[in-house]
């Protein structure tokens, strides 16, 4: 297998041979997009959606590593039954559902009190 030898000399073979590195880089890109959304947007709904993007990036990493962990020898914990990453991805999806429910509940309560959905106007606890 050819390897990536730095940004300047990526050859065609390493681009076409899909490895865990490709999935991890895609997950990092989605993570960064989510972080940009959380840090720069004012709308709370879009901030929550960016958090979903971040959680999905982590899930992609977990499932990709689970796929390749199954190719490891059994004495190292691998083998065809090593689906721990997928199980963990399901737990992360559960967390995302709980987070979305509570976050949107808080958003509704906030909108009822202040008539706005902008995060920088949430300053009730500031002094």
């Amino acid at each position: 297998m050819t390897s990536v030898r730095g940004l300047g000399e990526i050859d065609m073979d390493s681009l076409l041979n899909i490895t865990p590195l490709h999935y991890v880089v895609l997950g990092a890109a989605l993570f960064v997009l989510g972080v940009i959304g959380v840090l720069t947007r004012r709308n709370v709904v879009i901030v929550l959606m960016s958090i979903e993007l971040i959680l999905n990036a982590v899930n992609l990493n977990l499932v990709a590593f689970s796929r390749y962990w199954q190719g490891m020898p059994a004495r190292m914990g691998g083998g065809p039954g090593a689906l721990h990453g997928q199980v963990f991805a399901i737990f992360v999806i559960t967390d995302a559902a709980a987070e979305a429910a509570v976050g949107l509940g808080i958003l509704i309560a906030f909108f009822r009190n202040k008539e706005t959905v902008n995060v920088d106007e949430v300053n009730l606890l500031k002094w």
Binding site: L39, E52, N56, S66, A89
Partner: protein, 177 residues
């Protein structure tokens, strides 16, 4: 199990769909457009799960994320009025610093990946995996099985978490407690 067909083509197609969807999520003015872009991203990610031989997680992704959480988002977008927030500034005052910090984080990620994988493969090629039906059975065994089910306690804790989230959401959205 059939060997995969045209893996690079589908990987780059789905990855491009996800990246473009993610960019649309964080740049659109209308929250409904952002939600639709996020649904596209989630569906493309479910297809990537299928490419990674994780059919159960792909199904959970479509049913729970694209079908459940995003519908919740759309309902809340309908409940709050988005007309006023669409006329306002979309980015906060720290957008330059925040974006620069996030891009620095991404550069750190990429540099770490490129230096740690220099000259060696992360995982061996030719992985053996289960087929579609067996995958679901094995996940169920890890979650529920007596003996082999090492995630049974975590599963019960997750149900407790969901109960707490239900109560919290109801209490938050209630007008008068």
């Amino acid at each position: 199990m059939n060997p995969p067909v045209a893996t690079p083509f589908f990987f780059y197609l789905l990855a491009g769909t996800m990246i473009i969807g993610g960019i649309l999520v964080i740049t659109r003015k209308n929250a409904v457009h952002s939600a639709l872009a996020l649904i596209t991203t989630l569906l493309a990610q479910a297809a990537l799960y299928l490419m990674l031989y994780a059919p159960f997680v792909a199904g959970v992704q479509i049913i729970l994320y694209a079908g459940g959480i995003m519908v919740l988002f759309l309902f809340v977008i309908m409940l709050i009025s988005i007309e006023r927030s669409m006329k306002e500034r979309q980015f906060n005052k720290q957008w330059l610093v925040g974006g620069a910090a996030a891009l620095a984080l991404g550069g750190l990620f990429i540099s770490v990946y490129l230096t740690t994988t220099k000259g060696k493969a992360l995982f061996p090629e030719g992985s053996v995996t289960y087929g579609e039906t067996e995958n679901t059975q094995k996940i169920a065994a890890l979650l529920f099985d007596r003996g082999a089910g090492q995630y049974m306690f975590a599963f019960e804790i997750a149900s407790l978490l969901l109960l707490v989230a239900i109560i919290g959401a109801v209490v938050m959205a209630k007008k008068r407690i």
